[in-house]
Amino acid sequence: MAGNREFKQRPILGLMTQSVAIVAALFSLVICILLMADFVRIQKMDPLNDPHLLQLREQLANTTEGSEAVIKQIRTFDLYARRAFFSNQEQRRTGGLLLLGGMVACFVALKLSILWKPKLPTVGKSDKVDHWELNALFRQLMAGTGIFLVVVSLFLAFAVQSDLSMVLARGDEQAGKPAPHVGQTFQSALPEEMKANWPSLRGPGGIGVANSTNTPMHWDIESGDGVLWKTEVPVHGFNSPIVWGNRLFLTGGDEEGQEVFCFDANTGKQLWSKTVETTVELPEVTEDTGYAAPTMATDGQRVFAIFATGELAAFDFEGNPVWQKNLGVPTNPYGMGSSLISDGERLFVQYDHEESQKVIALDCASGNPVWQTPRKHISWASPSLIETETGVQLLLNDEENVTAYDPRSGKQLWTVKCLGGEVAPSPAYNGKGVVFVANEYAQASALKLVDGTPEILWQYDEYLPEISSPLAAENLFFITTSAGDVVCLDAATGEVKWEQEFDEGFSSSPVLVGDRIYSIDLEGVVHIFEAAAEYKEIATLEMGEPVYATPAFMDGRIYIRGDENLYCIGDE
């Protein structure tokens, strides 16, 4: 090995390369620190939630005039943010290259320094390890490693808990428990506040039963006698009014746009209107459905509106937007018809269309999905919330089945195949455990809920509804048809109690107010009759214009949306 060039010492060259290595290392360190500082700075940046941008967005949401200027400001802000981002990207790329260059220089210099100042081999090491000792130690350490792996594995096995298992166990628990106990986990009843107002189509729970009983039975539109106020409907729509406290809400829509309106329920004065913008192409709808057929819903703090475009928007009672989302443009032959309903916490959307069918529950406050359950058939009917002895159930009609869901989890509770054709009428409920469904080209069915699950009591197939939803009183069941027939059946047996024929058909659904039923035909004739086993007319009154919507009943007043005007019938 003597004279071996491999170990030749070149101290000056070695020292020089060492110096170069130190300089390169320092340079790399500086670049590295700068890059890390830049990274920390970028982590703190949140251009989308910049206060200035948020302020501009809020300004845009609240202004109708001069919004172009705000939009321009937002675009400028966005452009600057993006420009800053891409400039920073370029700087980081350059920094990365400089760092790489510095490190390469450092390592090359270090390698050369080792080459020119090689470490000489040594012999006769004093700390030479005994071969047998080493093997024995290895066996012990390997056994220790095995034990360590077992301990770590056990720790991980018990430390990592599964939320999914808890959710699934909860679901199984709900499904496995007998009905009376299910009520402990199910929602037991709708909030009292909801019952005291008219928060959705056909009132609380969407079953057509009013809590108010002192509603007028006589008025005169022409003379204004008994009419508290009358105001023009700003934009056409087939949806019905909803009322909460002293606020009345409805929507209108056409090819020009979709709007939400709020009126003072005491005076009829329009308090605000909001346009619900959409970015999607307008779907094709039929004339008798239009762009604003679904009725709004409220949870008492916010109002919710959905349109034919699938645009779903929430506003507070002052008209401030809370959230908005597009659920996807509904694809069906007529247009979006299903109305919204809320249980105070969740907003339920029946979204049964040709391409996909589902029922969605959204958190009222945030609009975030709470659950979503797939369905199988198309429908134009609206959901109902009924209070059964096992808790609240969400009922949905489609072209084959009536199905109940748990409003909290979306879990299907039961389904009965008893419908057919294109279903628009919604379910009815008599509050005594009997659900009624009916549709033209199928039949009417009464389903007795025993421990939360249904049994068919009877079926009837003569006079059936096409659009108007049926109505259940405690012991009677009523159907109003598009041909102008009104039928009363015994709730327990299905026996026909009476049939009455009117000149015009019904689109508006009948409402039970105490012991009376209010039903308005397409020509705007209000038929008031007793909810009794024998037909007894109380009054027949004319609104003077067609009525398609179902009226709202609250605090002794009736709110009727005519084709052109909105009426409040009642005393001061």
Partner: protein, 438 residues
């Protein structure tokens, strides 16, 4: 661990005395590195702009991989493997091997961005085995098989001068110190665990974790998540003192190369002729890959050693069973490797009110049409698969520990200083230390 060092017998303390603190610092660095791996996050990106005018973003097109260079890659791979074998076995020049290493670093690493990579190719092969519909490209097959074939013939010449991951570590190994051999042997269990986890991940469709956690590909491509760059940077800094830390303590492909190299027909030797027992080479290998001659005198009788070996052989099935038992308990942590399970757990956690806010994944899921039940059902099915896979993984690790214990308990007579055929990277550092030149 530190406590163990403090209380070990004086004789054993001698093993650690000369570099115990340094090794402890190295282990601490490895732990720190692992801490950086797990919270690896997505790269920072600017969100897509929103338009209220109805403008729709054009669909994002990801160009397909270019196959133009693949043929060249195969040619270069075979050529470099051949050259490496010649440099290691015939020329025996460390400098030539190192220059070839630099070429591989530039070509396979920086020029070809570290892909196709033999280390990652085992995942493609596993995916092809698990899913018959998954087509393994020819180039990947060659990158997987050629280094193994060369290892069978000539030892780990792929590690010596062709692998870009090994090359970048070789380039920064400035002042390598020797890790105590016993620690080296114990840590050699880690690549087996990583290999097992990677195979489980692939077989369950959870992704190619070897590629996801490749510490150096970020340098080759000049871009990666911050945490991965930090991980890679720390690995390189560690590599200055502990040569090739990834190759020795993590590389899952190294496990296969180790097996093949043990059976190699020809292997690099320290001396080109007979060993003269000068002991000059003993300090030359930073990888503890030089086996010293076994002492003539054994401190124990032959029957005692045989008895211990017999007990260890009997212990192996028990260790496998223990591994199966422990592995069966790891369903939950292992299943978190799969993004679908992670998402399902997140959604379930949000539904339980465990999180104050949604995250981007759960928001995207909730905005989709997929019902929760569908996601949950898929996650449950995956977890069942991970429960099965956990048993296999446990059995594999139990078997490896058992085999390692047996391997060290078999008496092998060595009279010369020889490279360990399994762990030797054929780097050629020892060549110049041998005074025997012909």
């Amino acid at each position: 661990m530190r406590g163990f060092f403090m209380t070990a017998k004086a004789q054993r303390r001698k093993v650690f005395r000369w570099s115990g603190l340094r090794v402890f610092a190295s282990l601490r660095s490895i732990l720190l590195l692992l801490l950086f791996v797990f919270p690896a996050r997505a790269e920072f990106r600017f969100p897509m702009p929103e338009f209220a005018t109805g403008y729709e973003h054009p669909a994002v097109h990801t160009p397909g991989p270019s196959n133009a260079m693949v043929g060249w890659d195969i040619v270069v791979l075979i050529a470099t493997l051949t050259l490496a074998a010649i440099f290691v076995l015939k020329r025996r020049k460390r400098r030539e091997i190192f220059l070839l290493t630099l070429f591989s670093l530039i070509y396979f690493g920086f020029w070809r961005n570290g892909c196709v990579c033999s280390v990652g190719s085992i995942q493609n092969i596993m995916a092809g085995i698990c899913d018959p519909a998954y087509g393994v490209p020819l180039a990947v097959l060659v990158f997987f098989a050629a280094p193994l074939l060369f290892a069978l013939l000539f030892g780990r010449v792929f590690c010596a001068a062709v692998c870009p991951l090994g090359a970048i570590q070789e380039a920064v190994a400035i002042r390598p110190v020797k890790v105590p051999p016993v620690v080296e042997k114990v840590l050699s269990i880690l690549p087996y665990i990583y290999l097992g986890l990677a195979m489980l991940s692939v077989s369950m469709g959870a992704g190619f974790i070897i590629c996801q956690y490749d510490p150096f590909v970020g340098f080759f491509r000049m871009g990666a998540s911050f945490s991965m760059l930090i991980f890679g940077g720390l690995m390189l800094v560690l590599g200055i003192f502990v040569a090739r830390p990834y190759c020795r303590f993590l590389c899952p492909y190294g496990v296969l190369l180790n097996w093949c190299s043990k059976l190699s027909r020809h292997h690099a030797t320290i001396t080109p002729a007979d060993c003269i027992q000068c002991e000059l080479c003993t300090d030359s290998c930073p990888y503890n890959a030089i086996n010293e001659p076994t002492p003539d005198q054994s401190p124990e009788t032959r029957s005692k050693g045989a008895w211990r070996l017999g007990r260890l052989i009997l212990l192996v099935p028990l260790m496998i069973l223990l591994g199966v038992g422990v592995g069966s308990l790891l369903k939950e942590p292992l299943s978190r490797m799969h993004p679908t399970v992670r998402l399902a757990e997140r959604i379930a956690g949000e539904d339980l009110g465990r999180y104050a806010e949604t995250n981007i994944e759960s928001e995207a899921f909730r905005a989709s049409d997929t019902p929760n039940e569908e996601l949950y059902a898929e996650a449950v099915e995956l977890k069942t698969g991970f429960a099965r896979g956990g048993k296999w993984l446990g059995a594999f690790i139990g078997l490896v520990i058992g085999c390692k214990l047996i391997a060290v308990s078999i008496l092998r007579k060595r009279t010369d200083y020889e490279p360990d055929r399994g762990t030797c990277f054929s780097c050629g550092r020892c060549f110049k230390y041998c005074p025997v030149k012909e």
